[in-house]
């Protein structure tokens, strides 16, 4: 197991290095830089001012030098300065991380706590009216875009209660805190809940047909024990994989959800930074997201090994 962990950590570092190069090159390949965008706002381009600004921001240097400058800074904990706000990138990024982390965590919690039990119920009652109803719910979850669902929630909130949640970093009551995070978390987590439900259902159905389940029933084990102890334990492996992958995909859903609910998290910030070609913010944020995804994948693999002794690699 130890050798496996060491190997995985090494691979993680290689992956992150590769990602850093790709992010850096892709960002420079995208047409236009911050200077073009700033002059776009001014309505004209003055070549002399443009050259001055490019020099000021270090954009006139060769791309390799720019890359080394970034990575060198990163290794020393210096993320550079935002081109737009002229504040340290770390100062801009750091306060936004907990906001998105809470939102993503709640969305994943919602996805697992709704998706897994409903998936099990659906599989156990296969072919029943309840099963069909749950399948319709999961299908709608996969079909409804989160921005549309978010807007629908906001419109319903305004027309039914005459108010709407606007992000407040210091909520005064639990209810306010709940509306700030829970409602958008549901909007963004609905899709993953539906996916989790479907995967749990199909995985459970497959397991429930196995010989050892029949044996457990023959030995007189209760339905609950068969379903939850024998079947679910084995059916949950692909579900964990899906939740792990969803954690990576969640950022896409969070971008629109943070925009619709006006939540100042990193997802919306990333899009704005991209619009301005604010390289220090974009490359550090994408790198941060990459680290999270790689680490989540690593944790999923570790969970796999912990749950299923057959796949304890290296042992």
């Amino acid at each position: 197991m130890f050798a496996y962990i060491v190997r995985r950590v090494f691979l993680m570092l290689v992956t992150l290095f590769g990602i850093s190069v790709i992010i850096f090159v892709l960002l420079r390949v995208v047409p236009g830089n911050i200077v073009d965008i700033l002059f776009d706002a001014a309505g004209f381009v003055d070549p002399a001012d443009k050259a001055n600004l490019e020099r000021e921001l270090g954009l006139n240097q060769p791309i390799v030098i720019q890359y080394l400058h970034w990575i060198g800074g990163l290794l020393h904990g210096d993320l550079g300065y935002s081109y737009v706000s002229e504040k340290p990138a770390l100062e801009e990024i750091l306060p936004r991380i907990p906001i998105t982390a809470r939102l993503a965590g709640l969305a994943l919690l919602f996805s697992a706590s709704i998706g897994i039990p409903l998936g099990v119920i659906s599989a156990v009652h296969q072919g029943s009216k309840l099963d069909y109803a749950l399948r319709v719910v999961s299908l709608s979850g996969l079909s409804l875009p989160s921005f549309w669902l978010g807007l629908l929630i906001l419109m319903a909130s305004v027309s039914l209660f005459g108010t709407m949640p606007i992000f407040n970093p210091n909520p005064k009551t639990w209810l306010e805190a709940l509306t700030i995070y829970a409602v958008p978390a549901m909007a963004v987590g609905f899709r993953s809940a539906a996916l989790t439900m479907r995967i749990t259902r199909s995985s459970m159905l497959e397991i429930l047909r196995q010989d050892y389940i029949r044996t457990a029933r023959a030995k007189g084990a209760s339905e609950a024990s068969v379903n939850y102890h024998h079947a679910l334990k084995n059916a949950v492996l692909p579900v964990i994989t899906v939740i792990g992958i969803e954690a990576a995909f969640l950022i896409g859903g969070l971008i629109v959800t943070e925009t619709v609910f006006n939540i100042p998290g990193i997802a919306r910030f990333l899009v704005e930074a991209l619009r301005w070609r604010d390289y220090p913010i974009v490359q550090n944020l994408v790198m941060f997201i990459a680290v999270v995804v790689v680490v989540v994948n690593f944790i999923v693999d570790m969970l796999y090994a912990a749950i299923d002794p057959r796949i304890r690699f290296g042992d």
């Binding site: 236009g32 776009d40 004209f44 381009v45 003055d46 001012d49 002229e86 906001l154």
Partner: protein
């Protein structure tokens, strides 16, 4: 009986008057909450060219002079003193001298003096050590030879030749006085002003907060405790926020006509106004090569336009037809209707115009069997894209088959600058309803914002002639003549001038939306909340 009735009416009248006077008495306190349409690139008004910067940051500053904040139509007669107590032109109209107030302090406690005026305008003219990152209105001061001071409280603008328009340019929201002791870089992030509100914080994509300046030199002002802009880029969310009472006002002039109806249907008490904003939608033509180096084809294009159709489709009829200068009655320099309609393409008979256009196209070698193939380039923003699509549809009638070429915002100006386009759909906003600003910026030979490189030395002489003219009537006639020639030359065909909406809650008092500028009406020093 009659006397009893009379008494009742009198009592009622007194009560009503009493109510009105009580309601009209400004109350202090409260935070004025507005949503902001996007995150401005910086807090520096001098480096910005969009009212995304003016609206939230104008309350921090003062100008030497300012357009009266409660007269919707900006004009020379509505200019009021701010940091200047008074102003005077010299006999030869070449020196404009301002006597300055002595009781003004910057928000950091340092005194305001004439040196601040000099260093602000020296920077704008590019004459100082410290430079702006961008200086989009440098050309406004082309006729200023130098700014001099006489002691701490007098500053003079010495001109190369008379330019009466200078005072209007100085009265724009784009002309605040900056402090000498704060660097341009700091002004982008933590602006220091003398104005009614002090800067608190600017969190990109989140909010901009201003607080009351208790030491404001206008005693008793401002009434508000602060102003808070919440940045909401999603328009639907922002409007829902206004309707549900999270905001007291929408972002000024950002509510489209269909959205305005939506707001009124959900919040019937909301006060909504629709005003022109001195932004024209126009066509930029690359006449440096074929096919538009042929004047006949350019004229045919101008003749093919059905301006009313654009306004009907895009704004449900709420728009105006005019030349370069904003149409009357809100615009001060617009050509009379008869003069406008005498310009090719402005006549009311569209079919007749298009028949003439087809003849010109045939003369240039095109016809039913040989259509001209071009691209119409524009930015990937709805207010650009939508009229471009209508334009493509309209020019089909004169044998032009056009394809929409949507350009990323970052690439728009570099593309225009390298002349890599045939036709472009463009929007031009005028900061001040003032011919000098419009003509020199958009049509003068060599100007950076003259995207089409239109250059006509004869018209340029007329630009100078009108600019020097101190007789208002004579100047107006010259301006009409110039505007007519620009349209006849198809320099930058103007399609329409838009109108847009602003809504606020009924308890918001003393807000005036300017009718001939989108940049000058956001000081908010005497706005108050009646709640």
């Amino acid at each position: 009986m009659r006397s009893v009735q009379a008494l009742a009416v009198a009592v009622l009248s007194v009560l009503t008057i009493g109510d009105v006077s009580r309601a009209a008495e400004p109350k202090s306190g409260g935070i004025f909450r507005i949503y902001h349409r996007d995150s401005p690139g910086s807090a520096s008004i001098h480096e910005g060219a969009t009212y995304s910067v003016n609206i939230p940051f104008m309350p921090i500053f003062n100008n030497l002079v300012i357009f009266d904040q409660h007269i919707a139509q900006n004009s020379a007669s509505t200019i009021r003193p701010e940091l200047a107590e008074s102003w005077a032109w010299s006999g030869d109209n070449k020196t404009l001298t301002f006597k300055l107030r002595k009781d003004v302090k910057w928000h950091d406690g340092k005194p305001f003096t004439a040196a601040d005026v000099k260093c602000t305008f020296d920077m704008l003219m590019g004459k100082s050590q410290q430079k702006f990152r961008q200086n989009p209105r440098k050309s406004w001061y082309d006729q200023v030879d130098e700014v001099t001071t006489n002691g701490d409280y007098e500053a003079s603008f010495k001109l190369k030749r008379p330019q009466p328009a200078l005072l209007s340019l100085l009265a724009s929201g784009y002309s605040p006085v900056y402090p000498c002791h704060v660097s341009p870089a700091e002004m982008r992030t933590k602006p220091v002003g003398t104005g009614p509100f002090k800067f608190v914080e600017f969190k990109a994509n989140e909010s901009i907060k201003l607080t009351k300046n208790p030491d404001y030199f206008k005693k008793g002002l401002p009434y508000l405790d602060g102003i808070e802009f919440t940045i909401i880029t999603n328009r639907s969310t922002a409007i829902l926020g206004f309707v549900s009472g999270k905001f007291d006002m929408t972002f000024p002039t950002e509510v489209s006509i269909p959205l305005l109806k939506d707001v009124k249907s959900q919040d019937s008490k909301a006060v909504c106004v629709v005003e022109p904003n001195n932004v024209s939608t126009n066509i930029i033509i690359n006449s440096s090569g074929p096919p538009f180096d042929n004047l006949d084809i350019r004229r045919a294009l101008a003749l093919a336009l059905d301006r009313k159709a654009f306004i009907q489709i895009m704004f449900e009829g709420q728009g105006d037809i005019g030349g370069t200068m904003e149409p009357a009655p809100d615009g001060l320099w617009a050509m009379p209707k008869e003069m406008l309609e005498s310009i090719p393409g402005y006549g009311p008979d569209i079919e007749k115009n298009r028949e003439e256009a087809r003849k010109l196209m045939q003369k240039a070698g095109y016809g039913p069997d040989k259509h001209l193939q071009i691209k119409v380039s524009t930015r990937n923003i709805a207010v650009y894209r939508d009229p471009a699509i209508i334009l493509i549809d309209q020019i089909k009638s004169i044998y032009i088959d056009a394809e929409l070429d949507v350009v990323d915002t970052a690439q728009w100006f570099p593309k225009i600058a390298r002349k890599d386009y045939s036709l472009g759909l463009n929007l031009t906003g005028n900061a001040v309803d003032e011919p000098d600003q419009s003509f020199y910026e958009n049509y003068a030979c060599g100007s950076e914002r003259n995207y089409t490189n239109y250059c006509n030395k004869d018209i340029e002489k007329l630009f100078d002639q009108q600019s020097e003219e101190t007789d208002l009537d004579k100047r107006r006639k010259l301006v009409w003549e110039i505007d007519k020639k620009l349209q006849e030359d198809v320099a930058r065909p103007i399609i329409f001038h838009a109108r847009t909406g602003t809504c606020w809650k009924p308890y918001v008092k003393n807000v005036t939306i300017m009718s001939n500028s989108s940049y000058n009406g956001y000081r908010y020093e005497d706005v108050w909340l009646d709640k």
